[in-house]
Each structure stands twice: as structure tokens, then as C-alpha cells.
């Protein structure tokens, strides 16, 4: 009989002499020779051949896995490129056909088998990952959403994360910068910290909310995705490792939301966990996929500007109408730009915005090769991405090469290895990352000034154009995973990974752009992570229907980070740079030094127990302990427990008649994520050298932070109630979730009274509550055999937060324009309440004691008059001042977020549209404020913007929204257009069409004639339209604290022509 089998294999070998089959042959041979050959000879055999097709089409499905059912199951191979297969099996056996994306089918073996597979649309059969172990969704009590990599291919982007916008209920992504290679803000289920940092510039709009990014696990390895050195917006360091993954290489992304799902990731999973899996080879036929995109980025509509003579006339008109005698008589005469119209220096109409913003043409290329079978598969992906920013002197170029392979020499051993290398070079221009103050300032220059040239224009303008910035990030990621299955049900797996990220931020500023002093700055940082995880898992199914899975693992990290910085100013020339030039004066060099350093080790132990009875009743429990070298040695562990329950109702007998009910499941979970808030330095204090005293060295305790030995851990407790429903053969699928999260004992620095001698103490007394509901609905209303396929998905999330405690029991903390007030939404605006404009002088309140009208406080403050804004005088002292008269108003965080996606396909054409929305959010419209402020100084060198369409006061009796912008004399006296007033607080709700894609797939026959397997071309428009009542430029392009900083990098609108082909 053995002989017989070999003969047949030989025949097969002769019939199709191609390499793949050779490999299949050897693999199968090896497989057979090594293991499980029992009983084959005892029965008769059958040669089964046939074709596997996709339902509704006539297309053969390649790479479908064919398994012989038995105990255990045995892999037989997979289908060829045209979907055909031939296998030899024992008679009377049963075959299983499976491939990802289709429902698995089992049929009895017969000589000729034509199998049709239905596309799998049920989310119930998704494989989900919990604590590095895969299970099916119907046995998971936790909350997660899985997005296929196919849904992330529409728009070429430098960071695939932003494509998740609007796709996951509860994941609030705001693409708040258009700078290529930067990340927007990502919040999962609302705010989890209130770590607001006042800006160093003193500008409220530049204040900064420390990001609490979810934990990203890339191919099973937890990865830090934020730049290691961030100094508010001024981030040094390289691009996020997330943006180093080409979107074409992503197989799927899973977002874990509740504590049951995240607690196995411990303290780092406190803000949610996002799992990213890159593609693996799974096609028996080697496949080559090539994707290319050409895209045009266009700047959004820029603001209109009054140019040339019109600007001069307007400014002159302002001065003549409102100016004092001195302004008209003396100051005007010395302002040459206004009065010397014949001077060629001032006789221009320069379009400054045009100099800095423009349309760019870009392209991406990606080649992926994958192949292999059950015993060996591989993947190689090469990606190239180049995008020139719509703002001058910015852009990003990325090269990636990622490889992995999986080798299973036997059913007991599996080896997976991954090597990814990537380089991403950003150009940040003269900006500092998210803020581009230099460009914003220059782009707002008076049109009367001549355009940039080396002899005429300002430093700013020249710097924006001439600064040479290069910010390359280099990443090498390796990962090796070895799995051993000694007996059925038992898995032993060890994973090791080494990841090194190096980035350089190099900026050369030529002398002309820096007050005749050429300068160079060289920032260099390296982050190395060595990671090991050992996992043991055991699954046992009892005949009686009781299933158990128990697993445990431990993780070990070594993380080293070091950043060096070097800066020299006053190089001898623009041309002689290296090795960092010749510096004549010692005073002009800033020297070099260590900017940041850390050396961290971490150990974790985790265990999980899952039980289900007949897949109806599911119980999950997990426990995890984390310790790091920063947490001190006395009791370094934080402990995160979780419990979850799931009831799959449709499996109950009393529902068995309800054929229309595909599934119905109720889930309830509870879990905690405990995060250490301090480290040994905050607990025991930091001791630093402090110079010398009489030649003896001094060592001092750092008195910026008082040691706090009582510092505990932050505690996030989440309750999650979920309900999943599938109806009518999964034509309708619905998920509803409701959660409540309490974050207690969050750390916050508390300023101390000055009799304490230490400036601050890290206390953990901040408490926040979050609660919300999420809903996702997917509809596929058309019957499966319809020629038109249509799917529609919509999701929405409501999240509310409340601050319930602040350190020291205080009721509020003010940080710039933001206030933390106990008992209301965590981040409110702290601004003057504006109730209109004084129509007449008689409307201005008069202090009955002094007989004087309301006045502006502070030195130089003037009395209010008709045409000035009405600010609420909260303490009734007839003086408007900063300390007493600001109010707590608004909520900078959105309440509702969500999105929708729909795809319609007919024959070879497809159309897909997706969008996202954010509702109920207050934005400070700094942009319009600045627009109005620009008219406040006709003698300045700022541009003037047209104010048409604004309802402003011009003459007594006018009931207007805005004060009189042309009366520039009021600017100094009462600052009518101060940005921190409710006049500029607007509703930032918006609805955005993210992308519209039209695709055409070449008919199979035509493609085959071209010797292609598949060819698809598509057109995509990205960021096409934003619908909003907001009067500023873009309600999304605002800071995390809701300030529309007009200096931000605008979001481009993009049009893409793409091509997908597969050999």
C-alpha cells in the first residue's frame, strides 16, 4: 500500500512539474514519513479531485486548505491557482475545506468534488487574540473589534493607524495634523488622564495634553509607539514605529476595549490594546502582489487675504478713522509701508500663503511575495512611500522590507521568524513638529512686503525655505517564535524579539536665516528593546461538553534608551560643516550632551483560565502581575485581575427553532488595570551632584519633587456589558456595548506651599469616571445570490467623563485656558464669558460707588465703551481681570464619535465610501480670533484678512456679534479679541467624508490573457469634504484640548490613482 501511495505521488509529480508542487510533494512526504501514518494501509484509498469555487462567481479559489477529518485532523494540501485539487484519502473519509474569509465546509470524499464556499461574513467566527493566545470570538467574553487589512488599503497614508478613524466604535482618532509622518491623537473610550501641560509660550492654544496612547502589540510583541523624547509639541526623536509599517503589509488590526480583554496585557494595557498582525504567507502558489498609488495632495482652501493696495488703503482708513492725533500726525509718517507707496520695497502684493503651501505629486510602490503551505510558508514585502508635504520644505520618504516565514516540520513543532527593516526620513522644515509657528507667522506677513529673497525678507521667511532638516528613523525588528505541542492540547511557546530604533534629527540653519550665524543641531537617539515571552497553554475538552483552557506566560523586557544632542551656533560658513564646523567663540556653542537616558527592566507573570459548557456558557478569568526596575524592590508588583461571562443564547434548545437567529450573545465583564504611577525617583527622591563647596563635592536631593513614600498605583476598573446579535443569516449584525470605567488614584504633580521647601510632590489623588455606550451595525440586505453586493456598516459611541477628585481635595486647577473642575467634565475651558457687544455707551455698567464705567484690569486697561465686548463681571467689582472673571465653560472632549462605511459592487465595479463624525465638542476658534486681531495694529507688518460676512459693530445702536475690529485703538485698552472668551467657543461637531473609492477589477479571462491572476485599478478621493457649522478652517485640525491653532499643519485633500496586480 505504501508503494501504491508513492506511485500516485510520483504520478502527480510528473503531471505538473512546477516548483511549488515539488515543494508540496516534499513537505507532504516528510510529513507522512515522520508522523501519523497509522492505519492508512488498513482501508481502501480514493483519489479525490475537483475544484473549489467562491459562491456567486465562477472563480476558482486558490490556496484553500484541505484537511482530512479524523482524530487528529490531517492536512492534505491546498488548491492550485485555478482552484483545482487532487488528493488521495482513505475511502469513506470526510474532507474539510477552509480558507480565511470563507465559511469552512465539510464534505464526504468522492471521486469528483466541486465545492462552493460562502464568503464568511459572520464576526462570530473571527479569531481573536487574548493575551497572546488565539481563540474564537464566540468563546470570548471581552470586547474587541477586528478590522481586516483589506479595509486599510483605500488611501495611501504614512501612518495606517489614521485609517481606523470611524471604523471602531469607541476609538476616537482625530487626525489633527497634516504633517506627513506624524500621528494624530488616539483615545480609546474617552479621556483617561488630565495631564495638561501649560505651554512654554504662554499661549493657551499651545497647551498640551499628555497622550495616553493604547498599547500596540505588533506581531505579538508589545511596542512603544510614541517618540521617546517629547517636550510638549516640540517632539524630537523619530517617527512612530506604527508609521513604519506599510499599510499593504497589514493583515488585520484588532482593538481590545474592555478590561477583560486588556488585563492580560497588564498595566501597559490600561488605555486599551491594539494588536497589529502583518501578513503571512498562506498561499500554496507563490503570489506576487504589486500595489502602486499615485496621489496628488492639495492644500485645503487657504484663507483669503487682502493684498497690495487694498491692504494699504484699509490700514490707512483705519488710522484716519480711529487713530489719535499722534497716530495720524507722527506715527503714520514714520510707517513707510503705509505712506511710501512708491518705494518698491513696500509696493508689492505678495501672496505669502502661496509661497508656503502648494499642491504636490506623490507615489507609493509595494511588492509582496508570499507562498508556502502548511509546513513552510513565507512572505516578503517591500514598500516604498514618498510624500511631499503641502507645506514647503516638509515631507516623508519611507523604505520598508519585511520578511517572515513559518516552518512546521511536524505537527508538534512550529517555528516562526520575522525580520523587518525600515527607514523613514521626515523633513520637518523649520517647524517643531505639530506646530509650525514659523510658517504660520510668515504666511501671515503683510502682502506689501517683497517676497522672500536673500536680501529683503525676514529671518522667519528664509528659515522656512532654507532650513535643511532631516529626521530619519531606522528600525530593525526581529522576532523568533518557537512552539512545541508535546501532547494534544498542550502548547509550549517561547518568543524572543529584538527591536532597535535609531533616529536622528538634524537641522542646519544657514546664516542668512539665523541673524548671520549658521547653526546646526544634531539630535540622535536609540531605543533598544529585548523581549522574551514564555507561554504554556493547555486545553482539554471533555466528552460531557466541558471545555477548559488554562494558560500562563511570563514576559521579560530589557529596554535601553539614550538620546544625545549637539548644537552649535556660529559656524564659520554655510559650507564648512563637518565635523561640525569651526566655532570661533566659545560662547556661541551649546555643546553636546546626554539629553535623556533610561535603562528599564520589566518582568510580568500572567495566567488565564477559560471554561465553557457546550460553547454556551463561557467563563473567563485572568490575573497578571507586573514589575519594573523603576518600581522599587520592596513590593514591585502591580496586580491586574479580570473576570468575564458570556452566554451564547442561540445555542440554547429553546432558540433552536428560530432559524433567523444567527447568533445572540450576552457578555458581562469586570477587570482592573493597575498602573504604577511613580518610580523609585518619585518614591525615594533623586540625588544629584550639586557642584562643590570649598572644593568638596555636594550631593543634594532634587528639591523639585518631594519623595512620596505613600505613592500607590493608579487603578482603572472597568465594567462592560455587551450584546451581540446576528439575524437572517448574518444579514444584520449588531453589537451593543455599555461600559463604566473608574480611574482612581491617578498621579498628578501637586504644587506645594513654599514652607515645604520642595516645589512639587507627585500625588495620586486624581479620579476620573468614564461611561458610555457603543453600537455597531452591519447590514448586508441583498440576498447572497444577488448580482449586486452591498454592505453598510455604521458605528457610534457616546462617552462622558467626569472629574471626581483632584489632589489635595482642591476643587479646581487652572492650567492656561483649561480648567480641571471637580464634578463636571474633566477638561473644561477657563475663559471670559462674552454676552455680546455694547450697542450704546449707555449699556456699559457704571460702578455706583465711583461713577466710573466698567474697566479692564491690569496696567494699561481702559474703560469699556460702545462697540466693546460684554464680558461678564463675575465678582461684580467693575473690573474685568484674569483672576476673578473667567468662567468654567464647555468641554474640549467630544461626546459622540463614530463613522460609517459602505461598499457596493456590481460585476467588476465597486464603490466604497467611508466617513466619520464627531459630535458635541467645544472648540476655541483661535483662527477667527487671530483673523480679527490682525486688524488690531495697522502699523504692523501683518497681513489683513477680509472680514466680510462677519457680524460686527460699526456704529452706536448696532446689535452685533463681534466688536468693532477696525477700531484698532481698543486692542490695547480692552483687548476685545482676546482668544480666551466664549465668543470664540464654537460647536466643533463635524461629519467628514474620509474616502470615496471607485474600483474596477479586470475580468478573470482578460487578466489571465495578460498572464496576471488579478488586476484592479481604483480612484480614491481622500478627505473630500467636512460638513460642519464651525466657522474656522477645519474642526478636526485642532489640538487635543480643542484649540484651533491656526499655526497647525493643514490637512491635505488627496486624489489617488491606484493599481493592484497579482501574479
Amino acid at each position: 500500500m505504501k508503494m501504491n501511495k508513492s506511485m500516485q505521488l510520483k504520478n502527480q509529480l510528473l503531471s505538473g512539474l512546477d516548483f511549488t508542487q515539488m515543494k508540496i510533494f516534499f513537505s507532504v512526504l516528510t510529513f507522512i514519513l515522520l508522523f501519523s501514518v497509522k492505519d492508512l494501509s488498513a482501508q481502501g484509498t480514493l483519489i479525490v479531485s475537483g475544484i473549489v469555487k467562491e459562491k456567486g462567481t465562477d472563480v476558482g479559489l486558490p490556496g484553500v486548505n484541505i484537511t482530512l477529518k479524523g482524530s487528529p485532523d490531517r492536512a492534505l494540501g491546498s488548491t492550485k491557482a485555478n482552484g483545482s485539487f487532487t488528493v488521495t484519502v482513505p475511502a469513506n473519509s470526510r474532507l474539510k475545506f477552509s480558507i480565511i474569509g470563507f465559511e469552512t465546509r465539510e464534505v464526504n470524499a468522492a471521486k469528483t468534488l466541486n465545492v462552493v464556499l460562502n464568503p464568511d461574513v459572520s464576526t462570530l467566527n473571527d479569531l481573536v487574540i487574548r493575551g497572546f493566545v488565539t481563540k474564537t470570538r464566540d468563546l470570548s467574553s471581552g470586547s474587541s473589534v477586528k478590522i481586516s487589512g483589506d479595509d486599510l488599503q483605500q488611501v495611501p497614508v504614512s501612518n495606517a493607524e489614521q485609517l481606523l478613524q470611524g471604523k471602531v466604535a469607541g476609538l476616537n482618532i482625530q487626525v489633527n495634523t497634516g504633517a506627513p509622518g506624524f500621528r494624530g491623537s488616539v483615545l480609546l473610550r474617552g479621556l483617561s488622564n488630565v495631564d495638561v501641560n501649560a505651554s512654554s509660550t504662554g499661549n493657551d492654544a499651545d497647551a498640551f495634553l499628555s497622550p495616553t496612547s493604547p498599547l500596540y502589540v505588533i506581531d505579538g510583541v508589545p511596542t512603544d509607539v510614541d517618540p521617546a523624547t517629547a517636550d510638549s509639541f516640540n517632539s524630537f526623536g523619530g517617527a512612530s514605529p506604527l508609521s513604519l509599517i506599510p499599510q499593504e503589509d497589514i493583515a488585520n488590526i484588532e482593538v481590545l476595549k474592555d478590561a477583560q480583554a486588556t488585563s492580560l496585557y497588564g498595566s501597559r494595557g490600561a488605555y486599551g490594546v491594539i494588536l497589529i498582525t502583518t501578513r503571512r504567507g498562506m498561499s500554496a502558489i507563490p503570489r506576487l502582489r504589486y500595489t502602486t498609488n499615485f496621489f496628488i495632495s492639495t492644500p485645503p482652501k487657504l484663507r483669503a487675504t487682502i493684498g497690495g493696495k487694498a491692504e494699504r488703503d484699509l490700514k490707512l482708513q483705519q488710522v484716519l478713522q480711529y487713530g489719535s492725533f499722534r497716530d495720524i500726525n507722527s506715527l503714520l509718517n514714520s510707517t513707510a509701508a503705509l505712506v511710501d507707496s512708491l518705494n518698491p520695497y513696500y509696493s508689492n502684493s505678495t501672496n505669502w500663503q502661496d509661497i508656503y503651501y502648494g499642491t504636490t505629486y506623490n507615489q507609493t510602490h509595494n511588492i509582496g511575495v508570499e507562498g508556502g503551505d502548511k509546513s513552510f510558508n513565507y512572505k516578503t514585502n517591500f514598500g516604498y512611500y514618498k510624500e511631499t508635504g503641502i507645506q514647503v520644505n516638509t515631507g516623508v520618504t519611507r523604505f520598508t522590507l519585511s520578511n517572515n516565514f513559518e516552518y512546521k516540520p511536524s505537527s508538534k513543532i512550529s517555528l516562526f521568524a520575522l525580520v523587518n527593516g525600515s527607514i523613514m526620513d521626515r523633513k520637518k522644515g523649520n517647524g517643531v513638529g505639530l506646530l509650525n509657528t514659523g510658517v504660520a507667522r510668515s504666511a501671515a506677513a503683510s502682502s506689501l512686503l517683497p517676497g522672500p529673497s536673500l536680501f529683503l525678507a525676514s529671518n522667519d521667511a528664509l528659515a522656512n525655505l532654507n532650513v535643511d532638516n532631516s529626521n530619519p528613523t531606522k528600525n530593525l525588528k526581529t522576532n523568533l517564535e518557537f512552539t512545541y505541542y508535546p501532547i494534544p492540547g498542550l502548547t509550549l511557546r517561547t518568543t524572543g524579539s529584538y527591536d532597535i530604533v535609531n533616529s536622528v534629527d538634524y537641522t542646519f540653519t544657514p546664516a542668512i536665516a539665523n541673524t548671520q550665524q549658521a547653526a546646526i543641531q544634531y539630535f540622535n537617539d536609540t531605543r533598544k528593546t529585548l523581549y522574551n515571552r514564555n507561554l504554556i497553554s493547555f486545553t482539554k475538552s471533555l466528552k460531557s461538553g466541558h471545555d477548559f483552557t488554562i494558560f500562563g506566560f511570563n514576559e521579560v523586557y530589557f529596554k535601553k534608551y539614550q538620546a544625545n544632542d549637539l548644537k552649535q551656533v556660529g559656524l564659520s560658513s554655510d559650507y564648512y560643516l563637518g565635523p561640525f564646523g569651526f566655532v570661533s567663540g566659545a560662547s556661541s556653542t551649546r555643546g553636546a550632551g546626554l539629553r535623556a537616558y533610561s535603562n528599564l527592566r520589566a518582568v510580568s507573570f500572567a495566567g488565564s483560565f477559560s471554561y465553557n459548557y457546550k460553547r454556551k456558557y463561557v467563563f473567563d478569568a485572568s490575573y497578571r502581575m507586573d514589575a519594573t526596575s523603576f518600581s522599587g524592590v520592596d513590593d514591585p508588583y502591580t496586580r491586574s485581575p479580570s473576570v468575564g461571562l458570556r452566554w451564547n443564547m442561540e445555542r440554547e434548545n429553546f432558540f433552536s427553532d428560530w432559524k433567523w437567529l444567527a447568533y445572540s450573545a450576552l457578555r458581562l465583564t469586570w477587570g482592573k488595570n493597575i498602573t504604577p504611577t511613580g518610580n523609585i525617583f518619585t518614591v525615594y527622591g533623586t540625588y544629584n551632584p550639586n557642584g562643590t563647596y570649598n572644593g568638596q563635592s555636594r550631593i543634594t536631593i532634587d528639591q523639585a519633587l518631594l519623595p512620596n513614600k505613600n505613592l500607590g498605583s493608579a487603578e482603572g476598573t472597568t465594567y462592560n456589558l455587551g450584546y451581540d446579535l446576528g439575524l437572517f443569516n448574518n444579514k444584520i449584525q449588531l453589537t451593543f456595548e455599555s461600559y463604566y470605567r473608574a480611574v482612581d488614584r491617578q498621579a498628578r504633580t501637586l504644587a506645594l506651599p513654599n514652607m515645604v521647601g520642595f516645589d512639587n510632590v507627585l500625588s495620586n489623588e486624581v479620579s476620573i469616571r468614564n461611561w458610555g455606550n457603543e453600537i455597531s451595525l452591519t447590514l448586508r440586505p441583498l440576498p447572497l445570490n444577488s448580482k449586486v453586493n452591498w454592505s453598510f456598516t455604521i458605528n457610534g459611541a457616546m462617552n462622558r467623563d467626569m472629574l471626581t477628585r483632584l489632589p489635595g481635595g482642591v476643587q479646581q486647577i487652572v492650567i492656561g485656558g483649561t480648567v480641571l473642575r471637580v464634578g463636571r467634565n474633566a477638561l473644561s475651558n477657563y475663559i471670559y464669558e462674552n454676552t455680546g457687544v455694547y450697542a450704546n455707551q449707555s449699556n456699559v455698567p457704571v460702578n455706583p460707588v465711583t461713577g466710573l464705567p466698567l474697566r479692564q484690569g491690569g496696567s494699561g486697561g481702559g474703560y469699556f465703551q460702545a462697540g466693546d465686548p460684554i464680558f461678564v463681571d463675575r465678582n461684580g467689582d467693575y473690573i474685568i481681570n484674569d483672576q476673578d472673571d473667567r468662567s468654567v465653560i464647555g468641554n474640549s472632549q467630544p461626546i459622540y464619535t463614530g463613522g460609517f462605511a459602505t461598499t457596493v459592487s456590481y460585476k467588476n465595479f465597486s464603490l466604497s465610501v467611508n466617513g466619520s463624525f464627531t459630535i458635541d465638542r467645544d472648540i476655541m476658534n483661535t483662527a477667527i480670533a487671530e483673523r480679527l486681531v490682525m486688524t488690531g495694529n495697522p502699523f504692523g507688518t501683518q497681513a489683513v484678512l477680509p472680514l466680510t460676512g462677519l457680524d460686527f459693530w460699526t456704529k452706536p445702536g448696532d446689535i452685533a456679534k463681534y466688536p468693532n475690529p477696525y477700531n484698532y485703538t481698543r486692542a490695547v485698552l480692552v483687548a476685545p479679541f482676546r482668544t480666551n472668551q466664549s465668543l470664540f467657543m464654537e460647536d466643533g461637531s463635524y461629519f467628514k467624508i474620509n474616502a470615496v473609492t471607485v474600483g474596477y477589477t479586470l475580468p478573470k479571462e482578460l487578466a489571465n490573457k495578460l498572464r496576471l491572476n488579478n488586476l484592479r485599478i481604483y480612484l480614491t478621493g481622500d478627505n473630500l469634504a467636512t460638513f460642519s457649522r464651525y466657522s474656522g478652517p477645519n474642526p478636526e485640525n485642532v489640538t487635543a484640548l480643542g484649540f484651533d491653532n491656526s499655526g497647525g499643519y493643514p490637512l491635505a485633500r488627496r486624489y489617488t490613482v491606484g493599481l493592484n496586480l497579482e501574479l
Partner: protein
Amino acid sequence: MNIKNIRFYLILVLVLTGTGCKKFLEVESIERFSGNRYWKTGADVEAFTIDIYARLWDKLSNSCFWPAAGEFRLGEIRSNTAVAGVTSFQSNDQNRRVVYDYLAKNDMKAVVYGIAANSPWLTNGSSPRTFNTILAFNFVANTNWTDFYRVIQEVNIMYDEVNKGIPGLSDSDKQRYLAEAVFIRCLTYFIMVRIYGDVAYYTDANHSTPLGREKFVSVLNKCIAELEPVKNNLPWKYEDPALNGVRANRGGAISLLMNMYMWNAGFDEANKSGYYEKTAALGNELIQSNQHTLIPIEETSRIFLGGTSESLIELKESSAFASGSNLFYKSAFPGEPVVLTKHEENGTTTHLHYKKAYIDFLFGSVSDYRADMIQNRDQENGRFALSKFEGPVSVLGFPDWGLILFRYADAVLLQAEALANLGRDGEATAMVNMVRMRANATALSGLVGQDLKDEIFKERGRELLGEGYRFFDLVRTRRILDPKWSSNPLSIDQFNRGAWTWPIDPAARDRNPFMTLNDYWF
């Protein structure tokens, strides 16, 4: 694969991962020390102690602290108005020297916050000015006590850690460090009490809660109760002579205790005889020890260089070690404004002079070497100088002074004062005569009662002229109320409302509901 094998793998996994965890988590940082890794050797304690002294020194030398607190408010000084030829130092700015006149008038608001345009003090079209922009006149810094509390926190932490035990530190060293910590804490509170009055008092390590101000008599009594039992753990002298005077020693501790007793004697009427008794006993102990001497009068200027046997406790950063701008802070020394030094040829002049009437009141016309050390006592043109402060000049032209907080002559005169108050006039006279004889002045005899007390008080004026004692002496003896002793006397009401204190920076009330400021200065 059988069960045995599974067990083997399980054990292997556990062995590979579970052991040595604590060790694994101990990582030494190369850039900074955490508190749990510090305090391992005696050298750690020493380096931290050095920092405590240095912080106190930094606070007292970063602004015009010592002379502004103890000398300028006397009422007997006036600024020099003469125009100097060359003004190469900030403090020679003639416009700013008027601040001494405001100090003399006890107009602390003007001193601290500057003079507004509508100030009645401004005459003859003078423009408004502030004094706090220049290091040498940075009086506003004196209203902020944070730096003192930084010293106190460090002391408390050091006391706590040393008390817990430091490996390798001998018991005698441990006791000495503990006593040293207590000494510096008491010294700091004493300095604060004299300028702020009531202060927040705490001795616990890592104190974090807000406290209100405690009555200063109580603060000093707590300090005394703490220092008295441990003072004998301090050595009279160190093996390394360089440490004498600059590190806590028994003489310094005794002198600090005497000063604290005498201060409280002035404010705690009911218990004052007890304070005098204690002072007398301590003075006796100090004198009997023979560890300190009055050095010859001709060498007086050597006292201010530091390290003499007359020095009880001092702070000094030698110009040999100091660098950069530290050298400019010499205005912190009481003598600086009144010593012409040897750079007269540069054209610089002294900032201020004592009124001739005051000098005459102190010395009269009798022979006294100390009177001879006053140059041009009747000139107001910048040539008035106290030659006792003359010394070797550092590279920047300043004498290489130490800040002598307490010296032996002060202790001897305090002893005399206490004895006189106890009616032991004979002993008191003997003490005063010790000082007088050193100055080649005629010995006192036959004075009793109030006359003797007044003469002792005058003697303190003569001996300690310009050194930062006089204003405090006037306050604690309440002679500041008497026009005989001060040409700018306070009324009893002013005195009771705290006119002798400094204003306190209003920032003290931030985040501290219990805090109050000195009402007089509102």
C-alpha cells in the same frame, strides 16, 4: 511524551523565568541616584552634609541678607552720596544707594518693592526705581523663606537617614552627624525667627503638609530642647583644622543656644530669669573650656577671613574655590558696604557711613583701638570706612571674607549681659573687661544695675560694629523703642504689630490655608 516530561518542561520554564527576579529588577542608573541607593556609606552622609551648609551659604550670600537683616535697619546709617570717579561694580550705582536710607527709616515696602512714582520719599524729580534687579540689592529675595526650608528639609532627611543607620558609620560619627543636623536646623530656625518672627516649624523628614506659623518663642524653645541634649556630641575642635569654625562644633552650639535664650528672654517676660541663668551657665561652660580665645586686636581683620580661634560658627566659600558670579555676591558680607578696601585707587567708594553722632555716642573721645579702626568717621563722601574689615584681596578686588555668624566676643558679651540681668554685676564687669582689655580700652569698674547693663550694650555696639548684630540687639532688648538708643525708634504699637520683622512674600499663602503674613507690612 508522558507526564514526567511535562513536569520536566514545566520546571524548566519556571527555573528559567522565575528565579532571581528581584536581582533582575535592580538596575543602576548611570545618570542619577535614587534615594534607596543613596545613604550607603559615610561618604554619602558627608557629601549631603556639605550640601546643607552650602545651601545655607547660598541663601545668605545670594542676596544682601546678613547686613540688611542685622545692620542696615539700625537707623544710624546713611548712604554715601558722593560721586565716585569710576563705578565698575553694580553696587556703586549712586541711584541705588538711596536704598540704605529707606532701610534706615525702616521703610521695608520701598526697600522690597521699590519706590513708586507717587512715593512721598521721592523728591527733586527723582524717578521711580526698584532695588531688586541688582544682585547686591536683592532685598526682595529676603522675603522668601523657601530656601531656608530647603535647608531644613535636607537636614530632616539627613537626620532621618543617619538615625536609621548607615553601614560602616561608627557610632560616634553617627551621633556627631545627628547633632550636626540638629545644630543646623536650630541655626536656620533662629535666623528665620529673627527676620520673620513666627515661622512654620517642623522636623519630620519629607514633610509635605501645609502648616501655619508658630509663635517664635515656642519655636526657639523647641530648638533649645532639641539642641541642648546633643550639643556635647559635637567636638570642640576637628582634627582637620580647616573644619574649625566652618563645621558645627560645641562652641558654636553653645553660642547659638545663648543667642536663642537671650532672644527669648526679651520676649518671654515671665521666664526671663531662667533664660538668663541658662545663658550664664552656657557662657561659663564656653569660657571654662578654653577652646576659644580673643585674638589680638591688631589682627581683628583676620577674624573675618575665618578659621581663627575666635570664630564659633561661620560660612565661607573661599575665592580659591568659588567660581563665576559667586564672587560678585560679596555684598552679602556685612562689611562690604563700609570697607573701602585696597582698591581705593580704582575710584570706588564705600556705600554708606555711620552717622557721626552714633560713632561719637558709642566711643566718645576715650582711647579705644576699635575707634581708631574707623577711618574718616566724620566724612559722608564715600571715604568713611571700617578698616577692621580690610583683608587680602581676591582677584576681583574683594576681600576674601567669611560670613562670621557668631564669634567669641559676642558670646562673652552675652554672658556679661546675662550676668548683669541676674544682678551678678561683678562677674559681668569682668566679662566686659575681657573684651575691653583686648581693645586696649580702659577697664570698667564700679558700674552697677542699669548703668552696667547700658554700658554692656554700648560695648556690644563698639565691639560688633558693622557685623550684623546691632538691629537684633535693639529688638530683643526693646531698646529700639527708646530714642536714646536709636535715632529711628519704633513706637510700642509698631513694635507689637511686627514692624521689626520683614515682609513675607505673599506666595507663602499659596496652597496654604493656615499661612498668614506679617500684618504690619500690608
